[in-house]
């Protein structure tokens, strides 16, 4: 994969040099950044109101949120010819910390063109190496080895039925345990179909609608599935399905 990227980079550099020689005004190299915002339906959720907003999920439970942290990785832009531009690193977001919302990859130069965005929810099997990332270890983001190890993909903690008798929920997602010592990958590849026409330095705005976790395609009943969910295989696979509709492209600024 790295080799392919290196080749692409060479090609890009070559293309850039040509472009400059020809003195045309099409910018061959665009730097892309990613800006994530978060909502519950249409209400923006950020560090100012995460713990004070009261929301209602698709199943009708009234919820207060305490913390939301999630991990995505392997961001890629795919152009119309199917050529893939991969960005190094991963994005660990803590909704309490606004500084973690945006992602500026180190290698973020791509040629102008029309792209779609693709990324991995959590880590794929190759990347989900137990204890491998010091920043994630320092954030105690680890997934227990008895459940397959590696890292959490999502930690969403809160209280539900806060209008009647409040109970805690811990909506945590990671590798699924089939049975003792048998694990199943549980990451998801998220592809957003909205075309991104990039002709200059660009910021791609992505929105995450948290309410989708409880909605689509599986309506989540917290009265049945609240905690513990980490060792619950069925709950883990339902979560994997529900993350597919979490994200959407809001637009692009350049």
């Amino acid at each position: 994969m790295k080799r392919i990227f290196a080749l692409l980079l060479c090609a890009t550099v070559a293309f850039t040099s040509c472009g400059e020689d020809n003195d045309d005004n099409i910018k061959a190299n665009a730097n892309v950044n990613f800006k994530f915002s978060h909502t519950w339906d249409n209400t923006t959720i950020n560090s100012n109101n995460l713990t004070t907003e009261t929301v209602t999920n698709a199943n009708g439970e009234v919820i207060n949120m305490t913390r939301i942290r999630y991990l995505i990785s392997k961001l890629q832009l795919v152009n119309s010819a199917g050529i893939i531009y991969s960005f190094d690193g991963y994005k660990f977001t803590d909704l309490e910390d606004i500084n973690t919302y945006d992602f500026t990859p180190e290698n973020n130069a791509i040629p102008a063109g029309t792209y779609t965005l693709k990324f991995v929810w959590g880590f794929n099997e190759e990347d989900n190496i137990d204890g491998n990332y010091t920043d994630l270890n320092s954030a105690s983001w680890n997934w227990p080895s008895m459940l397959g190890g590696g890292y959490h993909f999502l930690q969403f903690d809160g209280m539900y039925n806060v209008d009647t008798t409040p109970s805690p929920f811990n909506f945590h997602n990671g590798t699924a345990r089939v049975s003792m010592g048998v694990f199943e990958q549980n990451f998801a590849t998220i592809e957003l179909e909205t075309p991104l026409i990039i002709n200059n330095n660009a910021t791609i705005n992505i929105s995450m609608d948290i309410s989708e976790l409880f909605k689509n395609p599986n309506t989540w009943d917290l009265n049945v599935l609240d905690t513990p969910l980490m060792p619950n295989y069925d709950a883990q696979k339902l979560m994997q399905q529900n993350v597919m509709s979490l994200f959407s492209i809001e637009g692009i600024t350049q």
Binding site: T52, T134, D135, A139, S140, S145, G158, P166, P168
Partner: protein
């Protein structure tokens, strides 16, 4: 290239000449003393936080150590930092709360001191009030129910001492003592208090194995259906054994001590206290911010069945209706055995940390 070399030679020559021609000025610099980071920490977690304006030096640490053990810092010169933070107790005391020089008792358990440079959020003390180690060291000296001193008096005492002015000069290149330099030195010493030599650390490094009881205790700790301790207290890949943040762990239904809420003014923070590290539990009883539990058995029994609901209780405190996770007596015993494997006896006897 050759031209460059000639210029370089010229510059060196000029520098050498000028050095010979001008009179000697003070060129003394304190000797840098980088923290000796344990292998396990460099393998697993991100580097420690050292403020740019207070680098670790041999002379600064030595001065900080002398100050830490010196009763000159208290109003009546009977109490030192070490009075409530003694090396034999992993730099805490074995009383629920601490009594100051006037015989008045505080309402918080003195926190053990180790691995403080890895407190990435840099909020110190149970309620997160102190935003750096240097600032924290300011507080107990002048607190009326602790060392009840006046910083100006302390500075005057140190300034008129036979040894301190020279020690400050060696550490900070000035013999004019200030409270800021005093707390900088203490903070430097505190950052050297590193504990990373427990049985479990050795297990992590592949140097020893766990007993079946310790292994099961670790499993209880890591099992969301049993202990579920790891979401706040670290895991084998986070050897700090704390998340260094603030939670309401369900001790009370109403709060006589607001904790973090008293600092931020946000009612959502009421009843939240810093997660203490589980390292060195064998030496740090009693437990909790007010020292209410005298034994680890009491702590485990509390998390198993004694949780109290309140509006700000952390949702990680599950099975509230039953008071907690209800772990079996056998699992409780094994969990305790595992927790004790996180204690580091060499930390208590490290000669660098003794008076």
């Amino acid at each position: 290239m050759t031209k460059g070399s000639i210029y370089l030679l010229l510059i060196i020559t000029f520098l050498a000449c000028s050095k010979n021609d001008t009179p000697e000025t003070e060129t003394y610099e304190p000797t840098p003393l980088p923290l000796s980071i344990p292998q396990l920490f460099s393998d697993k977690i991100i580097p420690p936080v050292i403020p740019n304006n207070n680098p670790q030096t041999v002379e600064g640490v030595a001065l900080g150590k002398k100050l830490f053990f010196d009763t000159k810092l208290s109003g009546d010169q009977t109490m030192a930092c070490a009075s409530c933070h003694s090396p034999q107790h992993a730099f805490t005391a074995n009383t629920p709360t601490s009594v100051g020089i006037d015989g008045v008792s505080g309402n918080r358990n003195s926190m053990p001191l180790f691995n403080l440079a890895w407190n990435y959020g840099e909020r110190f003390t149970w309620d997160g009030k102190e935003l750096s180690l240097e600032r924290q060291a300011m507080e107990p000296v002048q607190n009326p129910i602790e060392m009840h001193s006046d910083w100006q008096d302390v500075v005057d005492r140190l300034q008129s001492d036979a040894e301190y002015p020279e020690l400050f000069r060696l550490a900070f290149k000035t013999s004019t003592i200030t409270k800021e330099l005093t707390t900088k030195a203490i903070a430097q010493f505190e950052r050297t208090l590193i504990s990373a030599n427990s049985k479990f650390d050795k297990f992590s490094l592949g140097e020893t194995s766990l007993t079946p009881q310790e292994q099961n205790g670790l499993n209880v700790f890591m099992d969301e259906e049993r202990g579920d301790c790891f979401h706040c207290h670290g895991n084998p890949n986070n050897p700090l054994w704390t998340d260094n943040i603030f939670h309401n762990n369900g001790l009370d239904t109403t709060f006589s001590d607001l904790g973090l809420g008293g600092v931020t003014g946000d009612p959502n923070d009421n009843g939240k206290f810093k997660t203490p590290s589980l390292r060195n539990l064998a030496y740090t009883a009693p437990y909790m911010h007010d020292g209410r539990f005298s034994s680890l058995d009491e702590v485990i029994a509390f998390y198993s069945a004694g949780l109290q609901p309140s509006p700000t209780i952390d949702p990680l405190m599950k099975n509230l209706d039953n008071g907690g996770v209800q772990i079996s007596d056998a699992d409780k015993a094994d969990l305790k055995t595992f927790l004790l494997s996180l204690s580091d006896p060499t930390f208590l006897t490290n000669p660098n940390f003794q008076e």
